[in-house]
Protein backbone atom coordinates (compact mmCIF):
# COMPACT_ATOMS: atom_id res chain seq x y z
CA UNK A 1 0.00 0.00 0.00
CA UNK A 2 2.90 2.33 0.76
CA UNK A 3 3.96 1.79 -2.83
CA UNK A 4 0.59 2.93 -4.14
CA UNK A 5 0.62 6.07 -2.00
CA UNK A 6 4.18 6.90 -3.00
CA UNK A 7 3.12 6.45 -6.61
CA UNK A 8 0.24 8.90 -6.19
CA UNK A 9 2.65 11.40 -4.68
CA UNK A 10 5.24 11.05 -7.43
CA UNK A 11 2.56 11.11 -10.11
CA UNK A 12 1.22 14.44 -8.88
CA UNK A 13 4.74 15.89 -8.70
CA UNK A 14 5.40 14.69 -12.24
CA UNK A 15 2.13 16.19 -13.49
CA UNK A 16 2.87 19.49 -11.78
CA UNK A 17 6.28 19.59 -13.41
CA UNK A 18 5.04 18.48 -16.84
CA UNK A 19 2.02 20.75 -17.05
CA UNK A 20 3.67 23.65 -15.25
CA UNK A 21 1.45 26.40 -13.95
CA UNK A 22 0.49 25.25 -10.43
CA UNK A 23 3.58 25.77 -8.33
CA UNK A 24 5.34 28.52 -10.24
CA UNK A 25 2.04 30.32 -10.74
CA UNK A 26 1.41 30.47 -6.99
CA UNK A 27 4.91 31.75 -6.38
CA UNK A 28 4.63 34.49 -9.00
CA UNK A 29 1.24 35.47 -7.58
CA UNK A 30 2.78 35.61 -4.10
CA UNK A 31 5.61 37.77 -5.38
CA UNK A 32 3.31 40.18 -7.20
CA UNK A 33 1.08 40.63 -4.13
CA UNK A 34 4.05 41.31 -1.90
CA UNK A 35 5.48 43.74 -4.44
CA UNK A 36 2.27 45.67 -4.90
CA UNK A 37 1.39 46.18 -1.23
CA UNK A 38 4.24 48.61 -0.40
CA UNK A 39 3.17 50.81 -3.30
CA UNK A 40 -0.35 50.96 -1.92
CA UNK A 41 0.76 51.65 1.64
CA UNK A 42 3.25 54.35 0.86
CA UNK A 43 6.80 55.06 1.97
CA UNK A 44 6.29 54.42 5.70
CA UNK A 45 8.95 51.80 6.42
CA UNK A 46 7.94 51.48 10.05
CA UNK A 47 4.33 50.65 9.21
CA UNK A 48 5.47 48.26 6.50
CA UNK A 49 7.69 46.24 8.81
CA UNK A 50 4.88 46.07 11.38
CA UNK A 51 2.29 44.65 8.99
CA UNK A 52 4.82 42.73 6.88
CA UNK A 53 4.15 39.30 8.43
CA UNK A 54 0.41 39.79 7.96
CA UNK A 55 0.92 40.67 4.30
CA UNK A 56 3.06 37.60 3.74
CA UNK A 57 0.47 35.40 5.43
CA UNK A 58 -2.46 36.78 3.44
CA UNK A 59 -0.44 36.44 0.25
CA UNK A 60 0.35 32.83 1.18
CA UNK A 61 -3.32 32.05 1.79
CA UNK A 62 -4.39 33.54 -1.54
CA UNK A 63 -1.55 31.89 -3.43
CA UNK A 64 -2.50 28.51 -1.97
CA UNK A 65 -6.17 28.96 -2.86
CA UNK A 66 -5.24 29.91 -6.41
CA UNK A 67 -4.52 26.45 -7.79
CA UNK A 68 -6.47 24.42 -5.29
CA UNK A 69 -9.65 24.00 -7.33
CA UNK A 70 -7.76 21.72 -9.73
CA UNK A 71 -6.58 19.42 -6.93
CA UNK A 72 -9.26 16.78 -7.56
CA UNK A 73 -11.08 18.32 -10.52
CA UNK A 74 -8.39 17.42 -13.03
CA UNK A 75 -8.60 13.78 -11.95
CA UNK A 76 -12.38 13.83 -11.88
CA UNK A 77 -12.67 15.19 -15.41
CA UNK A 78 -10.51 12.59 -17.10
CA UNK A 79 -11.70 9.61 -15.07
CA UNK A 80 -8.48 9.11 -13.10
CA UNK A 81 -10.45 9.45 -9.88
CA UNK A 82 -12.50 6.38 -10.84
CA UNK A 83 -9.30 4.40 -11.20
CA UNK A 84 -8.15 5.58 -7.78
CA UNK A 85 -11.44 4.40 -6.29
CA UNK A 86 -10.68 0.92 -7.63
CA UNK A 87 -7.29 0.84 -5.98
CA UNK A 88 -6.84 -1.22 -2.81
CA UNK A 89 -5.51 1.85 -1.00
CA UNK A 90 -8.18 3.77 0.92
CA UNK A 91 -9.29 7.02 -0.70
CA UNK A 92 -8.55 8.93 2.52
CA UNK A 93 -4.84 8.12 2.26
CA UNK A 94 -4.77 8.86 -1.45
CA UNK A 95 -6.26 12.26 -0.68
CA UNK A 96 -3.65 12.77 2.04
CA UNK A 97 -0.80 12.09 -0.34
CA UNK A 98 -2.30 14.22 -3.09
CA UNK A 99 -2.43 17.08 -0.58
CA UNK A 100 1.18 16.54 0.45
CA UNK A 101 2.20 16.57 -3.22
CA UNK A 102 0.21 19.75 -3.81
CA UNK A 103 1.79 21.41 -0.81
CA UNK A 104 5.31 20.48 -1.81
CA UNK A 105 4.93 22.27 -5.14
CA UNK A 106 3.01 25.31 -3.85
CA UNK A 107 3.28 25.92 -0.09
CA UNK A 108 6.77 24.60 0.49
CA UNK A 109 8.65 26.79 -2.02
CA UNK A 110 6.58 29.73 -0.85
CA UNK A 111 7.52 29.20 2.80
CA UNK A 112 11.17 28.69 1.92
CA UNK A 113 11.34 31.86 -0.16
CA UNK A 114 9.37 34.00 2.29
CA UNK A 115 12.47 35.47 4.04
CA UNK A 116 13.51 36.86 0.67
CA UNK A 117 10.14 38.50 0.24
CA UNK A 118 10.31 39.56 3.90
CA UNK A 119 13.35 41.66 3.06
CA UNK A 120 11.22 43.61 0.60
CA UNK A 121 8.85 44.43 3.44
CA UNK A 122 11.66 45.48 5.79
CA UNK A 123 11.04 42.72 8.35
CA UNK A 124 13.33 42.75 11.37
CA UNK A 125 15.60 39.91 12.44
CA UNK A 126 13.17 37.89 14.49
CA UNK A 127 10.31 38.12 12.00
CA UNK A 128 12.69 37.03 9.25
CA UNK A 129 12.89 33.53 10.70
CA UNK A 130 9.47 33.51 12.41
CA UNK A 131 7.62 34.06 9.13
CA UNK A 132 9.10 31.05 7.29
CA UNK A 133 8.74 28.90 10.43
CA UNK A 134 5.03 29.72 10.78
CA UNK A 135 4.39 29.47 7.03
CA UNK A 136 6.03 26.05 7.02
CA UNK A 137 3.29 24.89 9.40
CA UNK A 138 0.53 27.14 8.10
CA UNK A 139 0.65 26.47 4.36
CA UNK A 140 0.02 22.70 4.69
CA UNK A 141 -2.91 23.55 6.94
CA UNK A 142 -4.30 25.78 4.20
CA UNK A 143 -3.81 23.00 1.66
CA UNK A 144 -5.61 20.42 3.79
CA UNK A 145 -8.50 22.74 4.66
CA UNK A 146 -8.69 23.70 1.01
CA UNK A 147 -8.85 20.04 0.02
CA UNK A 148 -12.26 19.82 1.70
CA UNK A 149 -13.50 22.71 -0.43
CA UNK A 150 -11.84 21.27 -3.53
CA UNK A 151 -13.59 17.93 -2.98
CA UNK A 152 -16.96 19.58 -2.41
CA UNK A 153 -16.70 21.64 -5.60
CA UNK A 154 -15.17 18.89 -7.73
CA UNK A 155 -18.12 18.64 -10.10
CA UNK A 156 -18.52 22.39 -10.57
CA UNK A 157 -17.10 23.89 -13.71
CA UNK A 158 -16.06 27.17 -12.09
CA UNK A 159 -15.69 26.00 -8.52
CA UNK A 160 -12.76 28.25 -7.65
CA UNK A 161 -14.79 31.10 -6.23
CA UNK A 162 -17.11 28.88 -4.23
CA UNK A 163 -14.07 27.06 -2.93
CA UNK A 164 -12.60 30.30 -1.62
CA UNK A 165 -15.86 31.20 0.09
CA UNK A 166 -15.97 27.77 1.74
CA UNK A 167 -12.36 27.69 2.80
CA UNK A 168 -11.53 31.22 3.90
CA UNK A 169 -13.69 31.10 7.09
CA UNK A 170 -12.00 27.85 8.07
CA UNK A 171 -8.61 29.43 7.48
CA UNK A 172 -9.27 32.40 9.79
CA UNK A 173 -8.05 30.72 13.04
CA UNK A 174 -4.91 29.59 11.25
CA UNK A 175 -4.33 33.13 10.03
CA UNK A 176 -4.85 34.62 13.51
CA UNK A 177 -2.39 32.35 15.27
CA UNK A 178 0.05 32.28 12.39
CA UNK A 179 0.32 36.05 12.17
CA UNK A 180 0.51 36.55 15.92
CA UNK A 181 3.38 34.07 16.11
CA UNK A 182 5.13 35.68 13.18
CA UNK A 183 4.77 39.22 14.49
CA UNK A 184 7.56 39.92 16.88
CA UNK A 185 6.98 41.84 20.09
CA UNK A 186 3.30 41.49 20.87
CA UNK A 187 3.14 37.92 22.22
CA UNK A 188 5.85 35.30 22.82
CA UNK A 189 6.52 33.23 19.72
CA UNK A 190 5.95 29.77 21.13
CA UNK A 191 2.36 29.97 22.44
CA UNK A 192 0.57 30.89 19.20
CA UNK A 193 3.05 28.75 17.26
CA UNK A 194 2.09 25.63 19.20
CA UNK A 195 -1.61 26.34 18.68
CA UNK A 196 -0.82 26.75 14.97
CA UNK A 197 0.88 23.35 15.01
CA UNK A 198 -2.17 21.85 16.74
CA UNK A 199 -4.47 23.29 14.06
CA UNK A 200 -2.15 21.89 11.42
CA UNK A 201 -2.14 18.40 12.91
CA UNK A 202 -5.92 18.43 13.31
CA UNK A 203 -6.36 19.40 9.65
CA UNK A 204 -3.98 16.64 8.51
CA UNK A 205 -5.95 14.10 10.53
CA UNK A 206 -9.48 15.22 9.70
CA UNK A 207 -9.46 16.92 6.30
CA UNK A 208 -8.61 13.78 4.26
CA UNK A 209 -11.59 11.98 5.80
CA UNK A 210 -13.92 14.87 5.03
CA UNK A 211 -12.53 15.33 1.52
CA UNK A 212 -12.74 11.61 0.73
CA UNK A 213 -16.36 11.52 1.90
CA UNK A 214 -17.14 14.49 -0.33
CA UNK A 215 -15.44 12.83 -3.31
CA UNK A 216 -17.39 9.60 -2.83
CA UNK A 217 -20.61 11.59 -2.61
CA UNK A 218 -19.71 13.52 -5.74
CA UNK A 219 -20.15 10.30 -7.80
CA UNK A 220 -22.16 12.32 -10.31
Amino acid sequence: MTRILLLVFLRDLMLARRIGGGGVLGLVFFLSLVTVVPFAIGPDLHLLSRIGPAILWIAALLATLLGLDRLFQADHEDGSLDQMLLSPAPLELIVLFKCVAHWSVTGLPLALLSPLFGLMLDLDGQALWAVPATLLVGTPTFTFLGAIGAALTVTLRRGGLLLSILVVPLAVPVLIFGVSAAQSGTVPFLTPFLILCALGLASVALAPIAAAAALRGAGE
Partner: protein, 210 residues
Protein backbone atom coordinates in the same frame (compact mmCIF):
# COMPACT_ATOMS: atom_id res chain seq x y z
CA UNK B 1 -1.17 -8.12 -5.61
CA UNK B 2 -1.47 -11.17 -7.77
CA UNK B 3 -4.91 -12.48 -8.45
CA UNK B 4 -5.63 -16.05 -9.33
CA UNK B 5 -8.00 -15.52 -12.15
CA UNK B 6 -8.74 -19.19 -12.69
CA UNK B 7 -10.74 -19.72 -9.53
CA UNK B 8 -14.49 -19.76 -9.95
CA UNK B 9 -16.24 -16.55 -9.11
CA UNK B 10 -19.47 -14.88 -10.02
CA UNK B 11 -21.30 -11.62 -9.81
CA UNK B 12 -24.89 -11.66 -8.64
CA UNK B 13 -27.20 -8.69 -9.01
CA UNK B 14 -30.61 -8.93 -7.41
CA UNK B 15 -33.44 -6.51 -8.11
CA UNK B 16 -31.11 -3.54 -8.36
CA UNK B 17 -32.40 -0.02 -8.74
CA UNK B 18 -30.44 3.21 -8.79
CA UNK B 19 -31.81 6.69 -8.26
CA UNK B 20 -30.10 9.99 -8.91
CA UNK B 21 -31.73 12.56 -6.73
CA UNK B 22 -35.46 11.93 -6.98
CA UNK B 23 -35.32 10.28 -10.37
CA UNK B 24 -35.14 6.50 -10.55
CA UNK B 25 -32.76 5.73 -13.43
CA UNK B 26 -33.59 2.06 -13.66
CA UNK B 27 -35.15 -0.55 -11.42
CA UNK B 28 -35.54 -4.28 -11.05
CA UNK B 29 -32.35 -5.41 -12.75
CA UNK B 30 -31.36 -8.96 -11.87
CA UNK B 31 -28.40 -10.68 -13.39
CA UNK B 32 -25.89 -13.43 -12.80
CA UNK B 33 -22.54 -13.52 -14.53
CA UNK B 34 -20.17 -16.38 -13.80
CA UNK B 35 -16.61 -17.23 -14.76
CA UNK B 36 -16.12 -17.27 -18.50
CA UNK B 37 -19.37 -15.46 -19.18
CA UNK B 38 -20.11 -12.12 -20.75
CA UNK B 39 -23.27 -10.08 -20.31
CA UNK B 40 -24.14 -7.38 -22.78
CA UNK B 41 -26.31 -4.58 -21.49
CA UNK B 42 -28.28 -2.99 -24.29
CA UNK B 43 -31.03 -0.42 -24.49
CA UNK B 44 -31.80 3.01 -25.87
CA UNK B 45 -29.75 6.10 -24.95
CA UNK B 46 -30.32 7.40 -21.46
CA UNK B 47 -31.83 4.22 -20.15
CA UNK B 48 -29.12 3.77 -17.54
CA UNK B 49 -26.55 1.41 -19.02
CA UNK B 50 -23.60 3.50 -17.85
CA UNK B 51 -25.28 4.08 -14.52
CA UNK B 52 -25.62 0.33 -14.04
CA UNK B 53 -21.93 -0.21 -14.67
CA UNK B 54 -20.92 2.68 -12.41
CA UNK B 55 -23.18 1.34 -9.67
CA UNK B 56 -21.56 -2.08 -9.90
CA UNK B 57 -18.12 -0.46 -9.77
CA UNK B 58 -19.20 1.21 -6.53
CA UNK B 59 -19.05 4.79 -7.81
CA UNK B 60 -22.76 5.37 -7.15
CA UNK B 61 -24.91 4.62 -4.14
CA UNK B 62 -27.49 1.88 -4.70
CA UNK B 63 -31.17 2.68 -4.38
CA UNK B 64 -32.35 -0.78 -3.51
CA UNK B 65 -31.43 -4.36 -4.31
CA UNK B 66 -28.14 -6.10 -3.90
CA UNK B 67 -24.85 -6.69 -5.63
CA UNK B 68 -22.85 -9.66 -4.41
CA UNK B 69 -19.46 -10.93 -5.41
CA UNK B 70 -18.88 -14.63 -4.81
CA UNK B 71 -15.36 -15.95 -4.89
CA UNK B 72 -14.30 -19.52 -4.09
CA UNK B 73 -17.74 -20.31 -2.67
CA UNK B 74 -17.71 -17.39 -0.24
CA UNK B 75 -19.59 -14.15 -0.71
CA UNK B 76 -17.22 -11.25 -0.25
CA UNK B 77 -18.75 -8.16 -1.76
CA UNK B 78 -16.30 -5.85 0.01
CA UNK B 79 -13.63 -7.21 -2.34
CA UNK B 80 -15.55 -6.31 -5.48
CA UNK B 81 -13.84 -2.94 -6.08
CA UNK B 82 -10.47 -4.69 -6.06
CA UNK B 83 -11.64 -7.38 -8.44
CA UNK B 84 -12.86 -5.25 -11.30
CA UNK B 85 -11.63 -3.12 -14.14
CA UNK B 86 -13.71 -0.22 -15.30
CA UNK B 87 -13.24 1.39 -18.69
CA UNK B 88 -15.76 4.17 -19.18
CA UNK B 89 -16.34 7.14 -21.42
CA UNK B 90 -13.55 8.95 -19.61
CA UNK B 91 -10.37 7.07 -20.24
CA UNK B 92 -8.56 7.92 -17.00
CA UNK B 93 -5.40 8.86 -18.90
CA UNK B 94 -3.32 11.96 -18.30
CA UNK B 95 -2.67 13.81 -21.55
CA UNK B 96 0.64 15.20 -20.32
CA UNK B 97 2.08 11.78 -19.55
CA UNK B 98 3.28 9.18 -22.02
CA UNK B 99 1.42 5.94 -22.61
CA UNK B 100 4.11 4.11 -20.65
CA UNK B 101 3.82 6.46 -17.69
CA UNK B 102 0.04 6.24 -17.72
CA UNK B 103 0.14 2.47 -17.76
CA UNK B 104 2.82 2.35 -15.07
CA UNK B 105 0.56 4.46 -12.89
CA UNK B 106 -2.42 2.24 -13.65
CA UNK B 107 -0.38 -0.80 -12.78
CA UNK B 108 0.83 0.76 -9.56
CA UNK B 109 -2.67 1.76 -8.51
CA UNK B 110 -4.48 -1.42 -9.42
CA UNK B 111 -1.81 -4.08 -8.96
CA UNK B 112 0.59 -6.09 -11.07
CA UNK B 113 -0.47 -8.46 -13.79
CA UNK B 114 1.06 -10.86 -16.22
CA UNK B 115 1.87 -8.34 -18.92
CA UNK B 116 4.15 -5.32 -18.78
CA UNK B 117 2.91 -2.02 -20.25
CA UNK B 118 4.97 -2.66 -23.38
CA UNK B 119 3.52 -6.13 -23.86
CA UNK B 120 -0.01 -4.89 -23.21
CA UNK B 121 0.37 -2.11 -25.75
CA UNK B 122 1.87 -4.64 -28.14
CA UNK B 123 -1.27 -6.70 -27.73
CA UNK B 124 -3.31 -3.65 -28.73
CA UNK B 125 -0.79 -3.09 -31.60
CA UNK B 126 0.22 0.24 -30.21
CA UNK B 127 3.76 -0.42 -29.02
CA UNK B 128 5.08 2.39 -31.21
CA UNK B 129 3.34 5.08 -29.16
CA UNK B 130 4.80 3.87 -25.86
CA UNK B 131 6.81 7.03 -25.25
CA UNK B 132 4.44 9.56 -26.79
CA UNK B 133 2.34 11.78 -24.55
CA UNK B 134 -1.21 10.49 -24.63
CA UNK B 135 -2.39 13.99 -25.54
CA UNK B 136 -0.87 13.49 -29.02
CA UNK B 137 -2.87 10.35 -29.71
CA UNK B 138 -6.11 10.07 -31.65
CA UNK B 139 -9.37 9.16 -29.90
CA UNK B 140 -9.12 5.57 -31.06
CA UNK B 141 -5.50 5.25 -29.96
CA UNK B 142 -6.34 6.70 -26.53
CA UNK B 143 -9.10 4.18 -26.26
CA UNK B 144 -6.68 1.39 -27.02
CA UNK B 145 -4.25 2.64 -24.37
CA UNK B 146 -7.13 2.66 -21.87
CA UNK B 147 -8.04 -0.87 -22.93
CA UNK B 148 -4.40 -1.95 -22.52
CA UNK B 149 -4.89 -1.21 -18.84
CA UNK B 150 -7.14 -4.27 -18.71
CA UNK B 151 -4.13 -6.41 -19.48
CA UNK B 152 -1.50 -4.99 -17.15
CA UNK B 153 -3.47 -5.83 -14.02
CA UNK B 154 -5.19 -9.19 -13.68
CA UNK B 155 -8.68 -8.60 -12.40
CA UNK B 156 -11.47 -11.06 -13.08
CA UNK B 157 -14.37 -8.71 -13.75
CA UNK B 158 -14.25 -6.25 -16.63
CA UNK B 159 -16.84 -3.50 -16.82
CA UNK B 160 -16.71 -1.95 -20.27
CA UNK B 161 -18.81 1.04 -21.15
CA UNK B 162 -19.17 1.29 -24.94
CA UNK B 163 -15.78 -0.36 -25.51
CA UNK B 164 -16.08 -0.18 -29.29
CA UNK B 165 -16.42 3.60 -29.46
CA UNK B 166 -13.80 5.23 -31.69
CA UNK B 167 -12.18 1.90 -32.56
CA UNK B 168 -11.64 1.00 -36.20
CA UNK B 169 -12.52 -2.41 -37.57
CA UNK B 170 -9.09 -3.84 -36.93
CA UNK B 171 -8.98 -2.55 -33.33
CA UNK B 172 -12.43 -4.02 -32.73
CA UNK B 173 -11.14 -7.39 -33.77
CA UNK B 174 -8.19 -6.94 -31.41
CA UNK B 175 -10.52 -6.11 -28.54
CA UNK B 176 -12.69 -9.10 -29.31
CA UNK B 177 -9.65 -11.38 -29.28
CA UNK B 178 -8.49 -9.94 -25.97
CA UNK B 179 -11.98 -10.33 -24.53
CA UNK B 180 -12.25 -13.93 -25.75
CA UNK B 181 -8.90 -14.73 -24.08
CA UNK B 182 -10.10 -13.17 -20.86
CA UNK B 183 -13.27 -15.23 -20.88
CA UNK B 184 -11.37 -18.39 -21.76
CA UNK B 185 -9.12 -17.89 -18.74
CA UNK B 186 -12.17 -17.69 -16.48
CA UNK B 187 -12.81 -13.96 -16.46
CA UNK B 188 -16.16 -12.20 -16.37
CA UNK B 189 -17.33 -9.29 -18.48
CA UNK B 190 -20.16 -6.86 -18.42
CA UNK B 191 -20.34 -4.55 -21.41
CA UNK B 192 -22.77 -1.75 -22.11
CA UNK B 193 -22.92 -1.56 -25.86
CA UNK B 194 -24.99 -0.72 -28.89
CA UNK B 195 -23.10 -3.10 -31.12
CA UNK B 196 -22.76 -6.73 -30.25
CA UNK B 197 -19.28 -7.93 -29.48
CA UNK B 198 -20.37 -11.24 -30.97
CA UNK B 199 -18.74 -13.52 -28.45
CA UNK B 200 -20.27 -16.97 -27.94
CA UNK B 201 -22.51 -17.53 -24.93
CA UNK B 202 -23.36 -13.88 -24.44
CA UNK B 203 -26.06 -13.17 -21.87
CA UNK B 204 -28.31 -10.40 -23.14
CA UNK B 205 -29.62 -7.86 -20.66
CA UNK B 206 -31.99 -5.31 -22.09
CA UNK B 207 -32.88 -2.19 -20.19
CA UNK B 208 -36.20 -0.71 -21.29
CA UNK B 209 -37.19 2.93 -21.12
CA UNK B 210 -39.47 3.60 -18.19
Amino acid sequence: MKMDITQRCHLLIEDLSVARGERVVFGGVSLRVGSGEIAEVTGPNGVGKSTLLRAIAGFLPLGSGRISWVESEATDTALLAERLHYVGHLDGLKSALTARENLDIGRGLLGRGRLTPLEALGRMELAHVLDLPVGYLSAGQRRRVALARLLITDRPLWLLDEPLTALDRHARALLKAVAADHLASGGLMLAATHEQLGLPGTIQVRLEAR
